[in-house]
């Protein structure tokens, strides 16, 4: 069946900002879908609010709407573009939910409206509604966990008769899972059931068989409209049931299923996708297996591409999203060629000859108050994937890919942290899933605790435990050698085949990594690169998608083209996410267009950069010194001895940290010396002084005494931050010496930073005078070797200096800065870029206080804002910068047509940060110098107010058009509060306020409707009470500069838990009322990026 010709235009709904549970994987799938559908000749319309994505690049769709992803806005886009079809299966849960709402409103999926392709409304409803899904599965004879509902103890006792213990009791309609528990005994059951019935507002509990501890599996299924079904990949979770699959270490393919069991699961997956009714495309079906009996139950299915599809695509080389998009427009699997072999069709099931391990990365250290315990709700912010020929190799590569100070399963300084814990305590600890579990198990194995006991404690499959034990035994063997020179070739090979990194061995022998490397290479033990080919070598592969291992044969093909290696950004984390992948991908696109052969190195399975056709060659490898040097060596060899250039400045801190370890002549663009100059506090201060650019006074310290010394001269408050980190890791604003002592202790101690290397003369803490109430400004610029500087964008932050730039909203063009200040900023930027001899991108941060422009820091590398700037101005900044790094001049690029003038005037672009607080009710939502946002959105409109309103809407902050706004302001913020209150009154909104704020406002003739008491003083009517009672539609609460945060913290948490939108700075409050004044209550006008970028 060839492609459909009855549809011509297709709307793809993206997934919006990066949030926990919905990350770059949907940029990957959406980008693939856009590309494929355009290649097929369809007009592609894209809706996505996330400017950092590659898919929202104006080149990828015919009409790109960077607009809030709400049903109303998408309806306006449909109204305007009149697409023939809507593809809702590429944008995660967000896109599916919007599609369902639009279907319910009769806007899509019904006759006379755009057709839903990929999955129809009935299929989505069947898969998404838990009860419906269960019924459907039982109907086709598949087992599901047994469950029943009870309203009183008699019913509960009846239900438990059929279900049996252990079971899970969940009260109905309870937010955040309160009252949920697992009962193993009758007594526990009775207590939990009666408490649960009492806790539920409707007096109802759900009782479900507990399958915690069962083995968990996932199958990635594809189906075409001829009802052909194939499994792309099987995945087995290291962590048994009970941990969200996004938070589990997972392994592909399934390791401990016999073929009989696997085929049963395969049959069930097909039955499931058919019954749910996903007609075309990819789905993911999750199963639990009782390890004692083999009993299989279906847990859930996603009727769309998912995080697991991205993983399965990278794990097998089978591009699920791309194929799903083709199937959605009518192709059948046998009509689509397999990209990798070119010879065989896509209607097959990939076979692999390696082991893939995915390990999540969490950010609990940035979210104080969180327990760090993993459960059924996903909490990780990113993941690394690794490929090895065996599980031990794959696991150790994966652990070092995380970049969290661990060099592998063991053999690193962090392994000492368990020394004081007894076997029993450690065993018990592994029963509670946390990010540390894998290492705790490693330690138990090192103590020779039996696999049976470990399995008993945490239910991790004995096969995995035994494989880990092989690593541990090898470590003991290796520790018996005195130094790197005492190993034979076969001993080296054995160690490397188990995934030991040179760094681990260096730790073990007290040697340096380069000594280890030299000894190893002297015996000819170097990695071989194998190919990911979908078919376990049965057919010749055309796609150079490689991973390293230690075998006989290397498959890297020679090439005489000019090569550039691009180092990616590794697993997503707060502070380093999709923006850097955007830059790396753009680098690859722009260099390929200019005739270079591009080589990508990265280990993040969610990204576009690790798509096998983004670059000419892909190395799925950890971004460590050893692994990167190996790739350089392999590529040098394949080029007949010519070493390729290496791009280190586009992937964030990850590749930048490696800059100094790579031969300096290979680094493309700005020299590592300049990078270091900007990072080195003393040299940087001297440079600014010589340029006559003011800086906040400050210095560096490696201990408290030195820090106090600095404060003596500069005075409080000070900004304290470690060097060589991104995203404000550990950054704090400190107001007194007690706080300073605490901050320094945190940085030097065994905190998470300690694990990353702690403090030293090379990695000191920076202590600077904090400029209160200053306006923060960010600039992205490009400088070429002739000295020409291109100012990409000047962004004025909405929140004052002190809120991390990544968490702050900002606008292009600046909204309040006088023109001459912007010019000063541009001049400062140019002279700093010249002084650092920048060749490529530079990001400079300024603080404007009164008429003084202070420079805060400069980073000669790609910044988080590069994609936003590109979308706001229409200038492909990353592409331009990459070419400049390889020697092109801006003038040449202008002639070539790559560098175009920015689209000026006419619109304002606002970037807003998206924060993960709704997942972490225990966390204070006040913003600070430590970045905590996971993603961003963009609003574009003709005025700042409208653009800000759109950005807030896109970020999920609902600005109120009616009801009561609660105001509680820090003293310094109160004058601005007058303006806020005044506007709110004009807009007809009610105001509630705390005693202090109310009294202040009343003094200026602004009476408030309701005055509330302090929570800490046990007042009867408090803000928390009003919020919980649904009486407040918006909260503006700004934290006091110092101490006394408890009341505000409670208010902010209450707003978070009750899903009442809030802002925590008065500047955001001002912007919000401006937005409301300009936009509130009126329909949102949508316009495509292509229209904004069109030049007369």
């Amino acid at each position: 069946m060839p492609k459909r010709t009855d549809i011509h235009s297709i709307l793809i709904i993206g997934s919006g900002p990066i949030v926990i549970g919905q990350a770059c994987e949907f940029d990957y799938s959406g980008t693939q879908a856009c590309r494929v559908l355009r290649e097929e000749g369809y007009r592609v319309i894209l809706a996505n609010s996330n400017p950092a994505t590659i898919m929202t690049d104006p080149d990828f769709a015919d009409a790109t709407y960077i607009e809030p992803l709400t049903p109303e806005v998408v309806a306006s886009i449909i109204e305007r573009e009149k697409p023939d079809a809507v593809l809702p299966t590429m944008g995660g849960q967000t896109a599916l939910n919007i599609a369902m709402t639009l279907f319910e409103r009769g806007i899509v999926g019904v006759p006379g409206t755009p057709e839903l392709i990929g999955a129809n409304a009935e299929a989505i409803a069947t898969a998404e509604d838990r009860e419906k899904f269960k019924v459907a599965m039982i109907e086709i004879g598949l087992a599901v966990p047994k469950s029943g509902v009870a309203h009183d103890m008699a019913e509960a006792l009846e239900v438990i008769q059929t279900i049996g213990l252990p079971c899970i009791i969940r009260p109905a309609y309870i937010l955040g899972g309160r009252g949920t528990g697992i009962a193993s005994t009758q007594a526990q059951f009775e207590t939990l059931a009666s408490n649960g019935i009492a806790a539920s507002p409707i007096g109802e509990i759900l009782i479900e068989t507990s399958i915690a501890g069962w083995k968990e599996y996932e199958l990635e299924v594809m189906r075409d409209r001829n009802d052909n079904c194939v499994i792309i990949c099987s995945i087995e979770n290291f962590d048994p049931m009970g941990v969200h699959t996004g938070d589990s270490i997972t392994v592909a393919p399934a390791q401990t299923l016999s073929d009989v069991e696997y085929q049963q699961m395969r049959d069930s997956a097909f039955a499931c996708i058919r019954r749910v009714g996903v007609e075309t495309g990819g789905s993911n079906v999750q199963f639990a297996v009782n390890p004692l009996t083999g009993e299989q139950v279906v847990i859930e299915m996603n009727p769309r591409v998912s995080r697991s599809s991205a993983l399965a695509s990278k794990a097998t080389g089978f591009p699920i999203a791309k194929i799903a998009a083709k199937l959605a427009v009518g192709y059948t699997l046998d009509e689509i060629p397999n990209d990798i072999t070119k010879m065989t069709p896509a209607s097959f099931e990939p076979s692999i000859d390696y082991v893939v391990t995915k390990i999540p990365r969490w950010a609990f250290e940035k979210l104080p108050g969180t327990s760090g315990v993993l459960g059924t709700q996903m909490q990780s912010v990113g993941e690394a994937m690794s490929i090895g020929r065996t599980f031990p190799e794959s696991l150790q590569k994966g652990l070092r890919s995380l970049e969290q100070g661990r060099l592998g399963l063991n053999c690193d300084p962090a392994e000492a942290q368990y020394a004081s814990i007894t076997d029993d305590d450690l065993l018990a600890a592994t029963g509670i899933p946390t990010p540390e579990r894998i290492f705790q198990i490693g330690e138990l194995l090192r103590r020779h605790v039996s696999i049976e006991r470990i399995h008993e404690a945490n239910r991790v499959d004995p096969w995995f435990l035994d494989q880990m034990s092989i690593i541990i035994e090898e470590r003991e063997e290796l520790a018996g050698h005195p130094d790197p020179l005492s190993l034979t070739r076969s001993q080296w090979r054995r160690a490397k085949r188990l995934g030991f990194g040179d760094g681990q061995l260096a730790y073990l022998w007290g040697a340096t990594e380069s000594e280890v490397r030299a000894a190893r290479e002297a015996l000819g033990v170097i990695p071989t690169y194998k190919t990911v080919d979908t078919c376990a070598a049965e057919f010749a592969a055309k796609t150079p998608y490689h991973y390293s291992t230690y075998e006989d044969e290397n498959e890297v093909q020679p090439s005489d083209r000019k090569k550039v290696i691009i180092l990616g950004s590794g697993p997503n984390r707060i502070g380093q996410g999709i923006e850097f992948d955007y830059c790396c991908v753009h680098a690859s696109f722009s260099l390929r267009a200019a005739g270079y052969e591009t080589v990508m190195v990265n280990c993040n399975p969610e990204t576009v950069s690790t798509d096998y056709d983004t670059s000419d060659r892909l190395y799925f490898e950890p971004l460590t010194q050893e692994d990167v040097l190996n790739v350089i060596a392999a590529e040098t060899l394949s080029s007949g001895g010519v070493a390729p250039k290496v791009i280190v400045s586009l992937g964030g801190q990850t590749p930048l940290k490696l800059a100094g370890l790579i031969p300096v002549e290979l680094v493309a663009g700005t020299s590592p010396r300049s990078i270091d100059l900007a990072e080195d506090r003393e040299k940087w201060a001297a440079l600014c002084q010589s340029l006559h650019i003011p800086q906040p006074p400050g210095g560096t310290a490696i201990d408290l005494e030195q820090a106090l010394g600095i404060v003596d001269t500069v005075g409080f408050p000070v900004l304290v931050r470690p060097s060589y980190v991104l995203g404000g890791r550990g950054m704090q604003i400190v107001h007194d010496s007690n706080h300073l002592a605490r901050a320094m202790a945190e940085l030097t101690g065994f905190g998470s930073l300690g694990k990353e290397g702690g403090l030293s003369a090379e990695r000191p803490v920076l202590v600077d005078r904090f400029l209160e109430d200053a306006t923060e400004v960010d600039v992205d610029a490009v400088r070429d070797h002739t000295g020409e500087v291109l100012i990409g964008g000047v962004m004025e932050h909405v929140e004052e200096a002190g809120v991390h730039s990544g968490d702050s909203a900002c606008a292009i063009p600046p909204q309040t800065l006088p023109g001459w200040v912007v010019e000063v900023i541009e001049s400062y930027t140019a002279s700093i870029a010249a002084a650092l001899d920048v060749r490529g991108l530079i990001n400079v941060q300024f603080a404007v206080l009164g008429t003084t422009v202070y420079v805060i820091e400069a980073n000669p590398r790609a910044s988080r804002t590069v994609p936003f700037v590109a979308k706001a101005t229409g200038v492909p900044l990353a592409k331009v910068a990459t070419r400049v790094m390889l020697g092109a001049t801006l003038a040449e690029l202008r002639d070539e047509g790559l560098l175009v003038p920015p689209v000026a005037g006419g619109h304002v672009s606002v970037k807003e940060a998206v924060l993960p607080f709704s997942r972490f009710p225990e966390v204070d939502t006040a913003l600070g110098p430590e970045m905590r946002s996971t993603g961003e959105v963009m609003g574009i409109a003709t005025t700042f107010g409208q653009a800000f309103f759109k950005a807030e809407l896109a970020a999920g902050t609902l600005l109120p058009t009616s009801g009561t706004v609660f105001l509680s302001l820090a003293d310094g913020d109160k004058p601005a509060g007058i303006v806020v209150a005044k506007r709110l009154r004009e807009l007809g909104l009610g105001i509630a306020a705390t005693v202090g704020t109310a009294a202040y406002l009343e003094r200026f003739g602004l009476p408030v409707d309701q005055v509330v008491g302090k929570v800490s003083e046990h007042a009867e009517v408090t803000a928390v009470y009003l919020i919980a009672d649904g009486k407040v539609s918006f909260v503006i609460n700004t934290p006091q500069g110092r101490g006394g945060r408890t009341d505000g913290e409670r208010i902010r948490k209450a707003a978070n838990v009750n899903q009442v939108s809030s802002v925590t700075t008065v500047e955001a409050g001002l912007a919000a009322v401006q937005g409301l004044a300009e936009q509130g209550g009126r329909p949102i006008e949508v316009r495509s990026l292509q229209e904004y970028h069109s030049r007369p």
């Binding site: 990939p350 020929r389 075998e551």
Partner: protein, 406 residues
């Protein structure tokens, strides 16, 4: 710290694999000790991700050394239920890694113990991907592995005759007829190396009498069967000329269904020819198109020889085609109640996508004159039938001595 000792380390016995072209692969020996330190045979590969035990016990691998492309083999142990015949007939096994510890509730023995129990030698630690790439380009090649020196191994590899022209069927077929299952009709199944999963499927259709490969047409017809099944089996179909003659006499007199070697023998019987594929099909993921419906079946395959449909012209209708290389995968003999497929609809190991073919055979036996290739209903995997010859030596879970190679 606990004082419990870590699992005792097994002595590693180094060995090598040498191919007839002189290629050498270093590894560690597993399984049984080969007599004289040499195990030789035709080296082939299989790309299944699960189902190693079914592959090892498939008689079609007689004379061959099986390379598994998936690196971890033995993860879920071995069980009596997964035997596809009374014992493995392969000459050896090549893996990247043999699991030291298995984990699965179905497991009754460690795979290494099972290999040793049945005298199968193996070699682990091999760069199986390099080996597969080599075999992919050169075709199946003779090879030898063991503890003997490289020169001795090379000599053994070069002395190995290969499978062309060798009657391997005679080595694997049942010495005497046996019957399994019950029902009101009888199916006679020729055992050219039959897999138990096939017998299980056939037994859902009636009583199955499994007969030796040399059984004549008269002997078969004397059993008054409702249908005759031609099984899979090892090696070169041209050599099994005695069966070809019998099949020629059966076609037209009784409904016939063939699988794999049975497919090739049926085509020879009606005047066709076969040829050797450059590197055969050995895996569980081959796409086959059912030509009448255009539907795709993911199939289990294991064959080096292939039917040349052009040699049969109008005599047959091609019913199935391999989408990877477009070779023939199935045929119906025009005007006759006879059909066959090259692949393995019985799975074991592999997908169940083509199990409907047993339903087609059912239809054909019900009415040999008016049967149709419908409905394509997937049939549930049957249970292992009682009455099949038990694995000769059972399973004994010995403590592995050489597993754990990486």
């Amino acid at each position: 710290m606990s004082a419990q000792p870590i699992v005792a380390k097994n002595p590693i016995v180094e060995g090598a694999l040498v191919l007839a072209d002189g290629s050498v692969f270093e590894g560690e020996l597993i399984g049984a000790v080969a007599p004289g330190g040499v195990a030789s045979g035709e080296v082939v590969f299989n790309t299944v991700l699960s189902g190693y035990q079914e592959v090892l016990t498939d008689p079609s691998y007689a004379g061959q050394i099986i390379t598994f492309t998936y690196p971890h083999i033995g993860n879920y142990g071995a069980s009596l239920a997964d035997f596809e015949s009374r014992r493995p007939f392969c000459r050896g096994v090549i893996v990247r890694d043999l699991a030291r510890r298995e984990s699965n509730h179905r497991s009754e023995a460690h795979l290494d113990a099972t290999l040793r129990r049945y005298g199968i030698s193996g070699i682990a630690g091999i760069d199986t991907r390099r080996l597969t790439r080599l075999l992919r380009d050169t075709g199946a090649m003779s090879g030898a592995f063991g503890s003997a020196g490289e020169a001795a191994l090379l000599a053994a590899a070069q002395a190995e005759p290969g499978t062309d022209g060798v009657d391997l069927v005679a080595q694997v077929t049942t010495p005497t007829a046996y019957t399994v299952g019950s029902g009101d009709r009888r199916i006679v199944a020729y055992d050219f190396g039959i897999k138990y999963s096939i017998v299980d499927h056939l037994a859902t259709l009636g009583e199955v009498t499994v007969v030796p490969a040399s059984t004549t047409a008269e002997e078969v017809l004397a059993l008054a069967p409702s249908g005759v099944f031609l099984s899979n089996g090892p090696g070169d179909p041209e050599v099994v000329d005695y069966a070809v003659g019998a099949i020629r006499d059966l076609v037209g007199r009784v409904p016939v269904f063939g699988i794999c070697l049975g497919h090739q023998l049926l085509s020879l019987a009606i005047g066709g020819s076969t040829f050797k594929l450059p590197f055969g099909h050995h895996g569980g993921n081959h796409p086959v198109r059912h030509e009448a419906s255009g539907k795709i079946e993911i199939t289990s395959q294991n064959h080096n020889f292939c039917v040349d449909p052009d040699s049969l012209g109008d005599r047959i209708e091609v019913t199935h085609r391999n989408l990877n290389d477009l070779t023939n995968e199935g045929m119906w003999v025009r005007g006759e109640a006879a059909f066959s497929v090259q692949y393995h609809p019985e799975a074991g190991p592999g997908p169940h996508d083509a199990s409907y073919l047993f339903g087609v055979f059912d239809e054909m036996m019900r009415d040999p004159h008016d049967w149709r290739d419908k409905p394509r209903i997937r049939r549930a995997p049957p249970r292992r039938m009682a009455g099949l010859p038990a694995p000769e030596l059972g399973l004994v879970d010995l403590v592995p001595t050489t597993a754990g190679a990486v």
